[in-house]
């Protein structure tokens, strides 16, 4: 009696259809139905940002979106950030600046930082910190993360010159 919901989306540039229960979050759909396990579940209540994806151009916590709500949406997950084996400048900068330790927060931070740098070429440090305020990291102390985003911003500008 409890029907499933048919969702049609575009994920990382590809048309993707799936069936989900109305109560399943987009995060659960990505991880458990579609096998896209890059997005992490940290808190499951909107505080930590480990589940961050880009939904129709805006970053959101996928734990606070129902899969059913994503019908018709365009979604980018961490799996869609690199071009094949070519890392995104934000990913490279995270490695070079050692901006991760355990790595649980990293996918969410990279997706969030990528969205920022695509919207704003040269965000100030304060802007970066406020933009990433919904992404908690219990390991790094944030400084290295901010440096990495600054380095990526710099590199992306060089490329665009």
């Amino acid at each position: 009696m409890h029907g499933k919901y048919h969702v049609r989306t575009t994920i990382n540039g590809e048309a993707v259809e799936f069936l989900c229960e109305p109560r399943q979050s987009l995060l659960e759909c990505l991880r458990d139905i579609l096998g896209l396990t890059g997005s992490k579940e940290g808190c499951n209540d909107g505080n930590c940002g480990a589940c961050t994806v880009i939904l129709d151009g805006r970053i959101v916590n996928s734990c606070l979106v129902l899969g059913a709500e994503a019908d018709g949406a365009d979604i980018t997950t961490i799996e869609g950030v690199a071009r094949g084996s070519r890392l995104h400048p934000v990913q490279r900068a995270f490695l070079e600046q050692a901006a991760l330790q355990c790595g649980v927060c990293t996918p969410g931070l990279i997706v969030a930082a990528k969205a920022l740098l695509e919207a704003e070429a040269q965000p100030s440090e304060e802007r970066i910190r406020f933009w990433l305020a919904n992404n908690l990291c219990r390991c790094t102390g944030y400084d290295k993360i901010v440096r990495a985003v600054q380095q990526a911003a710099h590199e992306m500008q060089e490329v665009n010159r």
Partner: protein, 288 residues
């Protein structure tokens, strides 16, 4: 989360029909309160009615003569990215940018902030100060009520089964007016207000023509302190007059002691935040 069904109606009439037919249904805007509450078991439902596909609920229109129409499901980021709105209601744009962080602002609506009826909801004191009204649709038709009458208890609003908030209307800003919402949180962002104060003022040659003051997190509902605003009408703009209004706001507060702060501390905050918000609103009013 417990099992529930999902519907995404395309019209207000269809939403009202669904809500009226399912007394346990819950309205879903950005979901940043509702999904947390459903997951934790604090709320239950058999049907989630997603209102984001209804055109009126997404309306965001500012007209210098008519004022602002803010669809109840419009997410915060659209509010602070709207150039006309930012100019006409800078305090509203700023307050929308206080809710959660970037991800939350991508979903969370002012309508949801109000309907959730938390005493600490950040946008509500400002909406009250700005004399905003709620436009409600239900099985019996539509009605409009002032925002200060909307919340009745923690987590409870005046909506009856089948009703939903369609939009908020904010009157056009008067000449020489200003507004501001200030909250106190122990961090710089991503926290719940210990106390908050939203004010609006209209000036007339160095005097207050009128003022409205409302408080967050110091009563079971967001609190309009009518007497504090009225006390400013006709008075000169001065530290004394604003200090007196701030004391009236403090006297009206009925806070509780909890993990975020003691009742005494909250009362103190009411005076400080009201005075500072008045100073900021006056500075803005002098500029326009």
């Amino acid at each position: 989360m417990k099992w529930f069904d999902y519907a995404a109606p395309r019209s207000v009439a269809e939403a009202v029909r669904l809500l009226a037919a399912h007394p346990a249904a819950r309205t879903l805007a950005g979901g940043t309160d509702l999904l947390v509450q459903l997951r934790s078991g604090r709320k239950e439902t058999d049907l989630v009615v997603d209102i984001k596909r209804i055109p009126e609920l997404n309306e965001l229109r500012y007209d210098p003569a008519a004022g602002l129409t803010l669809g109840a499901a419009v997410p915060c980021y659209r509010i602070y990215q709207h150039a006309g709105l930012r100019l006409a209601y800078p305090a509203l744009a700023e307050t929308a940018s206080l809710i959660g962080g970037t991800q939350i602002q991508g979903r969370a609506s002012v309508g949801g902030n109000l309907c959730n009826a938390s005493p600490s909801a950040d946008t509500v004191p400002l909406l009250i100060a700005l004399s905003a009204t709620c436009h409600i649709a239900g099985p019996q038709g539509t009605r409009a009520i002032p925002v200060e009458d909307f919340c009745v208890a923690p987590g409870r609003n005046i909506l009856t089964p089948g009703e939903l908030l369609v939009s908020l209307h904010v009157p056009p800003p008067a000449p020489h007016s200003g507004a501001r919402y200030l909250r106190f949180i122990p961090r710089n962002e991503m926290d719940i207000a210990v106390a908050g104060a939203g004010v609006s003022v209209t000036l007339d040659h160095g005097h207050f023509r009128s003022a409205r003051i409302a408080l967050a997190a110091v009563a079971p509902t967001p609190l309009l302190v009518r007497e504090a605003g009225d006390a400013l009408a006709g008075r000169p703009v001065s530290a004394e007059s604003m200090g007196a209004a701030a004391e009236l706001a403090k006297a009206a507060a009925r806070p509780i002691t909890d993990m975020r702060g003691t009742a005494e501390y909250r009362r103190h905050l009411c005076a400080v935040l009201t005075r500072r918000a008045l100073e900021a609103a006056v500075a803005q009013a002098k500029g326009n």
